[in-house]
Assembly symmetry: C2
Homo-oligomer: 247 residues x 2
């Protein structure tokens, strides 16, 4: 059913926009329903099959009750949570702790940060962001009748390069990693560089229309290669420690 | 002249497409002129001020004569080049060499790969991709009268996560890293996570419309926050070794 030639045909046009009208999310809010309802009223028009919804981790964590009270007057009060959420401390320098989380993500502070949450609270990562993504996908399908991909995104730093970028921490219905091995390049050679992390690239594209301060927690990305829509999980992205040179 | 509120106002709409009609690039080709001419005939319409042109490293290296003959029958014949182009080997396992290049990039094989180049040749990274980007920007301004940002992109791996993503290796006219420190978040708190690598996110968005096998080496990204257009350089992104925990 997939179009193997999709990535070699005339280039597609990608578009992305933030979904407006999603208010502050609270514990036990039905996030999928709220997103579906907001998309129904979107000035950019209705969702289509093969759109990708990118949903920021913060609202998923809020809806799933992953908020923990901290001492608002102690800037280090969430550091104990960081160690609770980690399976391993990868690096530590001063206040900066790079950990490996239970999910296998390597990031600062086990993914816990205090931006865009109420003072005195910290948001932990969702327990299983793939499940969170599948739930949103299924509710959108049920309420709007369209088959979309869903990516839960978070903002991570990386070694060697300054500045943060948005990456996927959960996926449903759209490839996490696209394997092009065996595909000829434009000169007919078999390609060497062949596994593209589509989900991280889509999360980055979505960040450009959400911003960090806008309070827009969901974006639509349209025009993704139709052959990439399939079952997926973060296990495509998380590199096992034994294959990793930096742990 | 910049709009400080651009990132907090109604969300923008981003769009991206591959530029068709750019043929095979050869040494001493005037890449900027070729790109400007192709953009003039683009079915998606003319370039506008504040568009970003994302140009893949491979065509820049070809135009700038950074092609080196190798032994096509020896799969390891480019490994000597890898060490020539490196200032430091960061990790090595089997055939995989992660190096720090003269530019300060940390990547596999000093950024040398053999995809999308003629058999028997390897493409080295441009000597100064910021300069390459500025040159394209200036030629586009001269020929088409529009002020665009230019990003030279390449495909890098990263620790901990599988799959490659496109990142910036050269920038001109558009911010590499956007510093949001001091900006209030949606709840009025000062943001902690504040430096966004806009150039890498734009490079990733562009990759989604270029693909790895399509032979489309240039994309237009439209709808980037207007306040991000300014002088810039890769020094915003390259993290100095003394600040880095993974070198």
């Amino acid at each position: 059913m997939t179009d193997e030639n999709a990535s070699t045909s005339v280039p597609m046009r990608l578009s992305a926009w933030g979904v407006v009208g999603i208010g502050e999310i609270r514990p036990d809010d039905q996030l999928g329903e709220i997103i579906a309802d907001a998309c129904r009223q979107e000035p950019n028009g209705p969702l289509c099959d093969n759109d990708v919804l990118v949903v920021t981790q913060k609202v998923v964590s809020k809806a799933e009750g992953r908020m923990v009270a901290i001492d608002a007057d102690d800037p280090l009060s969430h550091k104990a949570l960081v160690e609770d959420e980690a399976v391993r401390v990868v690096r530590r320098r001063g206040d900066l702790i790079i950990t490996e989380t239970k999910h296998g993500f390597v990031c600062a502070n086990s993914g816990i940060d205090l931006s865009n949450v109420e003072r005195g609270w910290a948001a932990l990562l969702p327990i299983d962001s793939d499940r969170s993504a599948r739930r949103i996908r299924d509710i959108v399908k049920a309420r709007l009748g369209v088959s979309v991909g869903v990516i839960i995104s978070d903002t991570f730093g990386r070694p060697w390069r300054k500045g943060l970028t948005d990456v996927a921490i959960g996926v449903a219905g759209v490839a996490a990693v696209v394997d092009l091995r065996g595909t000829p390049d434009a000169l007919g050679r078999m390609m060497q560089v062949t596994e593209v992390c589509a989900a991280d690239e889509i999360a980055s594209a979505a960040e450009l229309v959400m911003g960090k301060s806008s309070g827009i927690p969901v974006a639509v990305v349209r025009g993704v290669d139709p052959s990439w829509f399939r079952e997926s999980s973060m296990s495509e992205i998380v590199r096992p420690p034994q294959e990793d040179l930096f742990r």
